[in-house]
C-alpha cells in the first residue's frame, strides 16, 4: 500500500534537517530596511554572505515560524508581513493589509500574531490561520515593541510618541495599564522569573525596569560610554540571557552594546560596535551576540565570553534585525 512517491517524499523530508545542520550553528539572516532584502551569512564560512533574499518593501522586524522554515518579516512600505521560505530563499507568501508594521510577536501556540500598527496607533491581533484581524486595541501614537508573556496572558506594547507602555490582557484585549516611562520607549526584555520587564527608552538614554506585580517603573539604568554625550545614547534593543544573569543593551548612536549584571544593575562593559547599533540576537548557546548597525550597514559579531567585537560583516542598507537558524 505504500505509494510510489514515498521514497521521493522521504528524501524531500530528509533534505530539510540536513540543510539545517549545514554549518555548526546554522545560517544567520539579517533584514535590511533600505535595500528591501535579507542578507544571509554563513558562520561556518567565516560569516561570508552566501545569499541575498529580496523581500517586500522596508523589511524590519523578523520572527521564525516554530519549525524555523519560514521567516515572517514586517514590511512597513508594503503594509504586509512577508513570509520568506529559507529553503527556497524567496518570499513565498504574505499576510496583507497590515498598515506599516514595525515590530511583532507570535503567541506561544503560533495561533495569533500581535503587531504594532503605526497608522492607527493600535495593536492588531491577527489570526494566523484565517489571516484576519480578530482584535484591535487603541494605544499611543507610534506603537513599537511587542512582548507576549510566556503564558500568553499579557501583551505588552510600547508607544514611542506617547512615552507609555501598555499592558493588554491576552484574552479579552482590554488595556490593563498604561505605564508612563522614559522618552521614546522601544523594546522589551523580560527576566526569566517574570518579575521584571526591561524597556529601552531611546531618547532618555536609559532602560526602565518595570515591576510586573505593581506595573510601575521601579528602577532605571542610564548609560554613558566614555567620550559620548548623553544625547547620543539612544538605546533600542535589549536582551536578557536565559539564566537571567546578564542583559545586553544596544545603545544606538553611542555605537556600543552595554553589558549589564541584572542582579546588581552594574554596567559590566561597553562593547564597541558599528554606527547606530540596534537589533540584537544571541545564539542558542548564548556564546555569540549579533548586533545590527543601522548606520554603518554592517553586523557586529560579539564573543560573549570575552565581551569583544570579533568581526564586522557588511550587509545591506540599514540592517535592522538578525535571526539565526539553529
Amino acid at each position: 500500500m505504500i505509494p510510489r512517491a514515498a521514497p521521493v517524499l522521504a528524501a524531500l523530508l530528509l533534505a530539510v534537517p540536513q540543510a539545517v545542520q549545514a554549518g555548526a550553528q546554522g545560517l544567520v539572516y539579517v533584514s535590511n530596511e533600505k535595500s528591501d532584502n535579507i542578507t544571509v551569512l554563513d558562520p561556518a564560512q567565516d560569516h561570508r554572505v552566501v545569499a541575498t533574499i529580496p523581500t517586500c518593501g522596508r523589511p524590519r522586524d523578523m520572527e521564525w515560524d516554530p519549525e524555523k522554515r519560514f521567516i515572517y518579516v514586517a514590511c512597513a512600505d508594503d503594509n504586509e508581513i512577508g513570509i520568506v521560505d529559507v529553503e527556497k530563499m524567496e518570499q513565498v507568501d504574505a499576510i496583507p493589509y497590515i498598515e506599516e508594521p514595525e515590530a511583532f510577536e507570535f503567541d506561544h501556540a503560533f495561533r495569533r500574531l500581535f503587531v504594532s500598527n503605526e497608522e492607527d496607533a493600535a495593536l492588531s491581533v491577527v489570526d494566523l490561520e484565517t489571516r484576519e484581524v480578530i482584535a484591535w486595541v487603541e494605544v499611543g501614537e507610534e506603537p513599537e515593541g511587542v512582548l507576549v508573556t510566556p503564558d500568553d496572558r499579557q501583551i505588552w506594547v510600547t508607544s514611542e510618541a506617547a512615552n507609555l507602555v501598555h499592558v493588554i490582557d491576552g484574552e479579552t484585549y482590554e488595556v490593563i495599564a498604561d505605564i508612563p516611562v522614559g522618552t521614546r520607549p522601544r523594546r522589551f526584555a523580560m527576566t526569566p522569573d517574570g518579575r521584571e520587564v526591561w524597556v529601552s527608552c531611546e531618547l532618555a538614554g536609559r532602560v526602565d525596569i518595570i515591576d510586573t506585580e505593581t506595573l510601575t517603573v521601579k528602577e532605571s539604568i542610564s548609560f554613558l560610554p566614555r567620550g559620548f554625550r548623553p544625547e547620543q545614547v539612544t538605546p533600542v534593543d535589549v536582551l536578557i540571557t536565559k539564566d537571567g544573569s546578564r542583559a545586553y543593551v544596544a545603545l544606538g548612536r553611542a555605537n556600543h552594546v552595554a553589558v549589564v549584571d541584572v542582579k546588581s544593575r552594574e554596567i559590566l562593559k561597553y562593547i564597541l560596535t558599528g554606527n547606530r547599533v540596534w537589533g540584537l540576537t544571541l545564539t542558542k548557546d548564548e556564546t555569540v551576540l549579533y548586533a545590527a548597525n543601522g548606520l554603518s550597514d554592517d553586523v557586529s559579531i560579539i564573543d560573549t565570553a570575552t565581551l569583544t567585537n570579533v568581526k564586522s560583516v557588511p550587509v545591506g542598507q540599514i540592517p535592522y534585525k538578525v535571526l539565526i537558524r539553529e
Binding site: E141, E160, V175, D178, P180, T183, A204
Partner: protein, 407 residues
C-alpha cells in the same frame, strides 16, 4: 448637570450645550476637558499659495493648524491616562482686534493654552497686553529674534526656531565644510536685509567671513544689469559659497548653476521655497530619528495634499510638549504643567535626534536644525564638532550671556 438639560429646549442655548451634554452622558462622572486654542488671522498672506509669473507655484497653500491637529491625535491616549478629554479650538479672525475678542472669550471659558500663528510684529503687539495673564502662548510661526530678545515675555514660548538659530545651523555646516568665504546676494526688501544681517552675525560667530554683500534687483532692465544678471553679480571676487538673502524666493531660484564660479548656493527664508542648501525647523525628506513616521502622520492628516513645513512642525511641537508636560506632571493643573514644560531636565522628543527643551532665559525651544535641499536632508545641526559647556543645542541661537531678554 440635570437642571441644565432644560436649556436644551431653548433654541438659543441648544447648540452651545449639546456637545457638553453628550459628553457628560457618555462618560460618568464627567471628565474635565482641556482645551488648546489655535489663534491666527483668516487671510494670513504667509499661508496663501505663493505664485509667480505665469501661475508657477513656488509654494503650496498651507495652514499650520494641521500640525496641531496631528498632535491632537496623541491626546486620546494621554487623556486616557490622565482622565481628561482634550479639545483643539481653531479660531481665525479677520484682524487683531477680532482675535483679541476670541482670546478673551476663550480665556473667560477657562482656556489656558494658546498657539498663536502671527507674523513677528503682529505677535509682539498681540501678546504684549497679556504679559501678566495666567496663560501660555506658543509662537508657532514667527522667526524674529526680537521676540526672544527685547520683546520676550515669560508666558510666550517659541517652538519655531529663531532666524538666528537657522543661520547658526547653516554657519556650522559651512565651517564644517571649510567653506569660509561667503558672497552675499541681498534683495531689496527689509526682510532680505534682516536675513542678510542675521546671517552675517552668525557667520562671524563660527569663523566664516562675508567677503562682499551685493544688492540684487528683481528686474530685467538692462540698465540695472549689474544687479539683475547673476553672472555679473557673482564676478570679480573670490568666494567659496553664495548666500542668497531673498525672502520671496523668486530671484534666488535661478541663482544655482548661474554663478560665474562653480560654487554652491545656500539660502535662508522664513516660509518661502528652498534655494540650494537651506536650514529649516523641519523637512519632509528627513529619514532619521523617526521623522518619516511624523511626516506620514502629517500627510495622512492633510489627505496627502502637501508636506509638513516649519510652522506645521512648530504647532505640532507645541501641542506635543503640552501633552508631554501633563504626562510628566501627572495632572492638567496649569501651574504644574507650566513647571513641567519649563523644567531644565525636560527631554522632549521632536524627531530630530537630540531631545528639545525650553531655554529658561528666553523661552525658546532648543532644537536641532535640519539642513536640506529641495528634496534631501544633507545634515543636521549642531554638527558633532560644535560643543557647548551645558547643552550642545545652545550652539544654535542667542546664548544666555548674550540675550537681550529680561523676563
Amino acid at each position: 448637570m440635570r437642571p441644565f438639560r432644560l436649556l436644551v429646549l431653548l433654541p438659543l442655548f441648544a447648540a452651545l450645550t449639546w456637545t457638553a451634554d453628550l459628553r457628560a452622558q457618555r462618560a460618568q462622572p464627567p471628565r474635565p476637558t482641556v482645551t488648546v486654542a489655535f489663534l491666527g488671522l483668516g487671510d494670513d498672506p504667509r499661508w496663501q499659495r505663493w505664485e509667480t509669473y505665469a501661475n508657477l507655484e513656488l509654494r503650496e497653500a498651507m495652514d499650520p493648524a494641521d500640525g496641531a491637529r496631528v498632535a491632537m491625535r496623541d491626546a486620546r491616549i494621554v487623556g486616557r491616562v490622565l482622565g481628561v478629554d482634550f479639545d483643539l479650538e481653531v479660531r481665525r479672525a479677520k484682524d487683531l482686534e477680532a482675535l483679541r475678542g476670541a482670546f478673551e472669550e476663550l480665556a473667560a471659558s477657562g482656556v489656558r493654552y494658546f498657539l498663536v500663528d502671527l507674523d513677528g510684529p503682529d505677535l509682539a503687539a498681540f501678546v504684549a497686553p497679556y504679559r501678566d495673564r495666567e496663560v501660555l502662548f506658543f509662537n508657532v510661526s514667527a522667526y524674529d529674534d526680537e521676540l526672544r530678545g527685547e520683546k520676550c515675555q515669560a508666558n510666550l514660548l517659541h517652538t519655531i526656531p529663531s532666524l538666528r538659530m537657522l543661520a547658526d545651523g547653516l554657519s556650522q555646516y559651512l565651517a564644517h565644510q571649510g567653506w569660509h568665504r561667503i558672497l552675499v546676494l541681498q534683495g531689496p526688501d527689509p526682510e532680505d536685509a534682516e536675513i542678510a544681517q542675521v546671517f552675517a552675525v552668525s557667520a562671524r560667530r563660527f569663523g566664516n567671513r562675508v567677503v562682499e554683500v551685493r544688492q540684487f534687483l528683481p528686474t530685467h532692465d538692462p540698465r540695472s544689469r549689474e544687479q539683475n544678471n547673476v553672472r555679473l553679480l557673482t564676478t570679480g571676487v573670490d568666494y567659496d559659497v553664495v548666500f542668497v538673502a531673498d525672502h520671496r524666493g523668486e530671484f534666488g531660484r535661478r541663482v544655482p548653476y548661474a554663478t560665474v564660479l562653480a560654487r554652491p548656493v545656500i539660502s535662508m527664508t522664513e516660509h518661502g521655497p528652498t534655494i540650494g542648501l537651506q536650514p529649516s525647523a523641519w523637512h519632509w525628506a528627513s529619514e532619521r530619528f523617526g521623522s518619516p513616521q511624523l511626516n506620514q502622520r502629517f500627510e495622512r492628516q492633510v489627505d496627502h495634499r502637501r508636506r509638513m513645513r516649519d510652522a506645521d512642525f512648530a504647532a505640532w511641537a507645541a501641542v506635543r510638549q503640552l501633552l508631554e508636560a501633563m504626562m510628566k506632571a501627572k495632572s492638567a493643573d496649569f501651574a504644574a504643567v507650566r513647571d513641567a514644560l519649563l523644567a531644565p531636565d525636560a527631554r522632549l522628543d521632536v524627531y530630530k535626534g537630540v531631545p528639545a527643551s525650553f531655554r529658561p532665559w528666553d523661552r525658546q525651544m532648543r532644537q536641532p536644525i535640519v539642513l536640506h535641499t529641495h528634496n534631501a536632508v544633507i545634515d543636521y545641526a549642531p554638527l558633532p564638532q560644535f560643543l557647548h559647556q551645558f547643552n550642545v543645542l545652545d550652539t544654535l541661537g542667542v546664548d544666555e550671556p548674550d540675550t537681550a531678554c529680561r523676563l
